[in-house]
């Protein structure tokens, strides 16, 4: 198959050049891998040199991250300190220098740890045509979306109320057995709890029964116990080389409990 590579100065132009058989190149960790293994799914690579893609800036009470911002860049950014452990959890240093936030939204389980955090933070996904999608809707439509992601917006700072844990089988790095992000505003009377899990379905998913069980409560042992019992409701983990679906269902509640109670993993 003859490969063509087209580079556009703006994301809008790149978006309008996309067709079936095209792939947009972010950091390259997925697309170039596809080229290396002669993926039959695409023969055209679209790039954009649009500088807006790598912008990080405040937006209202929150922060806007360009889709081309790399994990390494985000780790250094001020105003997004609570996301540093999330970005650090993605790959080794070389991958973090390459992998982008936009790309992380499109990778398959068990990858895509950053998206798990975004899901817990009620992020909005901004498309190249200006459309704003709540991240949950984005994941639901991901396979059929037209257009390109230009940025994600985290509507409010989550300092102090945000918790994140990636469970791996090799130290210090590896693909996820399960990734858990929780946003628990309200202190002793939690309101608007979000618990998102990665590697527990083909996309990051929210544990909605568990969220409801937390509503109005606090992180006492009894509540946490109840929350963990239902945290796998509605999730659909898969077998892969990291763990079996059975194992993931067994250990996800254990790791959620430790995260909520502030215990070591």
């Amino acid at each position: 198959m003859t490969i063509t590579i087209d580079t556009y100065p703006t994301l809008g132009e790149a978006a309008s050049a996309m067709r079936t058989g095209s792939q947009f190149l972010g950091g390259g960790t997925m697309v170039v891998r596809g080229l290396n293994f002669a993926s039959p799914d695409f023969d055209k690579v679209i790039r954009s040199t649009d500088s807006a893609l790598s912008e990080i800036r405040p937006e209202g009470n929150g922060i806007k991250l360009g889709a081309g911002v790399t994990m390494a860049r985000l780790m250094q950014a001020s105003g997004a300190e609570f996301l540093e452990p999330v970005a650090r959890a993605v790959g080794g240093p070389a991958v973090r220098n390459m992998a982008t936030i936009g790309g992380n939204l499109f990778v398959c389980s068990p990858f895509g740890d950053f998206g798990v955090a975004l899901l817990a933070l009620d992020a909005l996904v901004q498309m190249s045509d200006g459309q704003m999608l709540p991240i949950e809707d984005f994941y639901r439509q991901r396979e059929n979306l037209r257009g390109l992601v230009s940025a994600v917006i985290i509507p409010r700072s989550a300092h102090g109320a945000f918790r994140f844990r990636k469970v791996v089988r090799t130290k210090p790095k590896g693909a996820a057995v399960v990734t858990i992000a929780a946003h628990l505003p309200g202190g002793n009377r939690i309101s608007g709890a979000r618990i998102a899990l990665g590697a527990m379905g083909s996309t990051p998913l929210r544990a909605k029964d568990a969220e409801r069980a937390l509503e109005g409560g606090s992180l006492d042992a009894h509540t946490v116990q109840r929350v963990c019992e239902m945290c796998c409701n509605g999730l659909n983990p898969q077998d892969d080389s990291i763990a079996s679906a059975w194992y993931r269902r067994e250990v996800a509640p254990v790791h959620l409990r430790r995260l909520l109670l502030g215990e070591e993993s």
Binding site: I3, F37, A38, P40
Partner: protein, 607 residues
């Protein structure tokens, strides 16, 4: 390095304290090349006009090939050559045929049928790797799927799919006689009922991929004078050279093989598949050809350490002495033999582990299944069964209420003990390892265990004798197919094929140590013997112990550790003071007797 602690106090009298290298950092002779990136691995040789080879592989566990259509692939840009099974001059081989072990059972490119997922049936050579990949994807194969078997014991059942036509019973043929490798030492069947406890266990190991960072591969190119140069990642250059010469039916003098710089192997780079294909590609195109696995192939097609299943049954006395141990083992060889058959020979030689047990029997099957063929990996043939044995030791300890470390010290082999493979144990150190480990772990041992020594108490009485051994004829090739023989070595066996010792005209008592030069000569192994022992050499009893006595011996020998240590080490003329005489065997070393049907691997040949 820094974590190594030397215990030179142990066996201090057995060696000079003159270790100049051990435990000290040393500079590898090749390391400057490694850190500068100048070391040349096989893929670090550049050739003008290099072509790339990729294989069409089976997507099924077991399937017949009805037809192959390459018409689209052949027309694709950059495609230089499609290589068919018929292009391989001698398309059947087994790796160890070079040392005359086993039957040729595997094709380089499979012509009619595939027996594992990923088996190659066709090779395509193209200008770029991408073009080769695209052409492979364009080949259309009409597969007729066949029933497959992925479990070793399922494969042994009558009516199981035949995985490998060369071995229609789905087992490797040992010594042209049996469908399994046997070990018989003493009489397990009589001993087990005499035991206070019988402890059984089953242990299963999964396949393990060696996963070198450099994937397997080779680059071959035409050289002057009709020769071909081949740069390869092989761990076994002469295996690869010999295999290539055999499969391409050409004198090895036409092959110029260069290897030696290997990016990690761990046993996974001995199978010699890349070299014949790369050289064949170079022969058929007249151009340099690279055949290199990608990471996916390395993990999925590359032969792993095979899965093993072991059943162990121990007869153990109340005091913890193991008087009998019975093994049934199944090595999952995958679809072809490669090295599993030989791994079993090695594993059997290791039984019953580092313990002195007077009655041992074992049946180990090399089983063909529709899984990726298995091959060598670190600890070749030993790692799996050792895992099983040590798990089982813990189970036995629990059964008799002993601490697992105490149980190991009690049963550990000691210098001078005869092992199930009819060799004397020497330079044993398991007891001392257990003692040191216990000390480190803060575990307090009983006085007996604390005072035990590998050099004391071994080689006495029954411990130095090959017991009368009951052999049997069970499991002759084809028996199992006829549903006549169960896979368990003795349990539930019919009497068919049983040959009680001394009742069939021939006394089948096991032979003595085959070569007297195998006995330990203190001067030869640097093993100094205390004067107290050499002063009163104990004649080693030549008469064979009766079975009953052999069975009772373990229970009676409780006090043996306190007896004066009359080691067999004392047997050859004791060294006198002063300079020891240089070693000279009583008679020259000789090759073992080659008996028809007996593999040279288990003969008495001293290697």
């Amino acid at each position: 390095m820094s974590s190594i602690e030397f215990r030179k106090d142990l066996f201090a009298d057995e060696r000079e304290d003159d270790l100049n290298e051990i435990g000290k950092p040393t500079v590898r002779q090749d390391i400057v090349g490694h850190v500068t990136g100048r070391s040349k691995f096989y893929d670090d040789h550049l050739f003008e006009g290099l072509l790339h080879m990729r294989c069409v592989r089976s997507p099924h566990h077991h399937a017949r090939i009805r037809s192959v259509d390459v018409s689209a692939a052949e027309r694709m840009p950059g495609v230089r050559r499609v290589i068919w099974p018929k292009d391989v001059p001698s398309n059947l081989n087994t790796l160890l045929s070079l040392i005359n072990f086993g039957l040729d059972d595997e094709q380089l490119l499979s012509a009619n049928k595939v027996s594992y997922m990923g088996e190659p049936i066709l090779a395509i050579v193209a200008d770029t790797e991408r073009q080769a990949r695209d052409a492979v994807a364009a080949v259309r194969v009409d597969w007729q799927e066949l029933p497959h078997v992925l479990d070793v014991e399922e494969a042994l059942k009558p009516g199981a799919p035949v995985v490998n036509e060369v071995y229609p019973g789905n087992t490797f043929d040992y010594h042209d006689l049996y469908d399994h490798q046997k070990l018989r030492f003493g009489d397990v069947e009589t001993a087990l009922p005499e035991a206070d406890h019988v402890v059984e266990g089953e242990y299963q190991m999964s396949p393990i991929e060696q996963a070198p960072v450099e994937t397997c591969g080779a680059i071959a190119a035409p050289e002057e004078n009709g020769r071909f140069v081949c740069h390869t990642s092989t761990q076994a250059l002469f295996f690869s050279l010999g295999t290539t010469a055999k499969m391409l039916d050409m004198p090895s003098s036409r092959l110029h093989f260069i290897g030696g710089t290997v990016g990690g192997g761990f046993g996974g780079k001995v199978d010699s598949h890349h070299e014949p294909l790369a050289v064949l590609g170079a022969m058929l195109t007249g151009r340099p050809v690279k055949y290199m696995w990608d990471r996916t192939e390395e993990m999925r097609v590359g032969a792993p350490r095979g899965a093993e299943r072991w059943r162990i049954r121990d007869g153990v006395m109340k005091d913890g002495r193991i008087i009998a141990r019975e093994f049934t083992g199944f090595f999952d060889s995958g679809a072809f033999t490669r090295l599993s058959s030989y791994a079993i020979i090695k594993g059997t030689g290791h039984l019953p582990g580092p313990y002195t047990i007077p009655n041992v029997s074992s049946n180990v099957y090399c089983v063909y299944t529709n899984r990726t063929p298995a091959t060598a990996m670190r600890g070749f043939g030993i790692t799996g069964v050792d895992f099983a044995i040590e798990c089982h030791m813990d189970k036995v300890a629990e059964a008799v209420g002993m601490h697992p470390v105490e149980l190991r010290i009690l049963n550990a082999y000691r210098d001078g003990d005869v092992k199930a493979h009819r060799r004397f144990a020497k330079n044993c150190a398991l007891i001392e390892c257990c003692q040191v480990a216990s000390q480190k772990a803060g575990l307090s041992l009983s006085p007996e265990a604390k005072n035990a020594s590998s050099t004391v108490g071994g080689g006495i009485g029954w411990r130095a004798e090959v017991p009368e051994t009951l052999t049997d004829d069970m499991g002759k090739i084809g028996d199992r197919k006829r549903q006549e023989i169960p896979t368990q070595p003795l349990g539930g066996a019919t009497t068919k094929g049983r040959v009680p010792a001394g009742t069939m005209g021939e006394n089948v008592v096991a032979s003595e140590v085959q070569d007297t030069d195998m006995q330990i000569d203190p001067t030869r192994i640097g093993h100094s013997v205390s004067q107290a022992i050499v002063a009163q050499p104990a004649p080693r009893p030549r008469q064979l112990t009766l079975p009953a006595a052999a069975l009772q011996a373990p229970a009676q020998s409780e006090g043996s550790a306190t007896q004066p240590a009359l080691s067999t080490f004392a047997e050859p003329a004791a060294p006198t003071h002063g300079q020891p005489a240089p070693y000279k065997p009583e008679k020259p070393f000789q090759r073992g007797v080659k008996r028809p049907g007996v593999s040279r691997f288990i003969s008495g040949t001293r290697r």
